[in-house]
């Protein structure tokens, strides 16, 4: 059985990045068979922001992942449907279904 997220790891997503973005970074964390795998972009670099947006759209709009903007521990996340470059950290969840 393939590990969920293997295709993303081949595109540079990694489970080994720090858990939180540094100031000025955009971080997207995707739940996968590896645990969460992440990627960071420089929020001040327009090209990188666009790259982050493309990644977000690929997963959320095409593959129907759920996206949540998260902040401090214990706070509730906010579901987002559009890429938010100001979000800091976003967690993407593979599509859910009733069991």
């Amino acid at each position: 059985m393939d590990t969920l997220g293997t295709d993303l790891t081949k595109q540079g997503w990694s489970p080994d990045l720090p858990d939180q973005p540094e100031p000025g970074q955009i971080m997207i964390s995707v739940l996968s068979g590896y645990g969460d795998i992440k990627k960071v972009w420089n929020a001040a670099n327009r090209d990188e922001v666009e790259d982050a947006r493309r990644s977000f759209d690929e997963l959320v709009k095409k593959k129907k992942y759920l996206a949540f903007k998260v902040t401090a521990a214990g706070d509730k996340g906010e579901q987002i449907r559009e890429f938010d470059p100001e979000a800091g950290k976003m967690i993407l969840v593979p599509p859910v279904a009733g069991g």
Partner: protein, 367 residues
Amino acid sequence: MPTYGLARATPLPSVEVGLVDGDVLAGGPVRSGSITIRDQVPPVEPVSVDEERVRLAASEARMDAARADLERSQLIQPGAFIQDVQTISGPTYDGLDRGSAAQLPPAPPEIQSVEYEIEEDDYYGLVQNVRVTTTTTGTTTGTLSFAAETWATQVAMRIMQDRVFRQWVTSGSGSTNCLTSEWAITNSATTTNSYIIDQCTAAANAVWRSAGWQQCNHTKVRWTPSVVAQETPEQRVERAAREELARQARERDAAQRRVFMDTAKSRARKLLLSMLNPMQQKQLDEKNYFDLTVFSKDGSQRVYRIEHGYAGNVKLLGADGQPVKRYCIHADSRLPNEDQMLAQKLLLEANEEDFLRIANMTQLRAA
């Protein structure tokens, strides 16, 4: 201990092989016991390197074909229904609790051993690529029969008869009672119906999702056809060596897989903990669940309990703190449970309406 010679192009690894009375090796009949095959034993019947290479290549090709056949017949998925370890040998499988012994389909000669292993990933029973055909022979009764594309599929389906079809309760077109290897079915029309069971997602296949099948554990079904007994001693030794190497490889793979899974689980738990408040972290550490207070759009407030797991693990608590409803909702089952729990938490808090719309709900008691 006697040493038996074998002609080989390359040295064999040391391996112990069990023998039984009457087995014949190069030195003649032997009594029960074991032998050790060592590297560089003198050949008794010299075989040219080229001949050996051709023979080994042919043997590998046959095994590759057999493996491919097995892979094509991936019909038993994690969480399938057969309980307990069953090792089945010989031309019949009387060892199963069945009404009568039935002949298995004859094995193609290239297939020497087939093993189905169902991983410990409990969920609903899943079956893929199995075609079940009901053929009515009259206006009211008929028999349930099978059609499978590969030999391995046929064998597995026959093995499943008792364990699966005995529990057959209803189908999309009529009811059946399954007591032996054939089943009377009630059907008002003279038709042939085929059901392709494909991951049990269609409502028409609800029979495969009977609650009784949800609790199956690690299961292994092994079928060794009689062709194995027809091997020559040399072939048996060669196969034993090959199987030993394969077994070691499987063990290495399993060990690596365990490390991988543990790492993923640890990473997921760390992320989940980072998203919980101190009270929830304490609950998770001590009780393996955490409670979540959700403020609904209508202004009301509900408390949900997310237990460790991924299916049916979310409970709505009543005023007395006891579960009232149970919800089943999850992402791809390859996610670690802690990631599933985080997904449930995030969706429940951010979009309770969607959560309740998607989840399957079970009422546990009156509110």
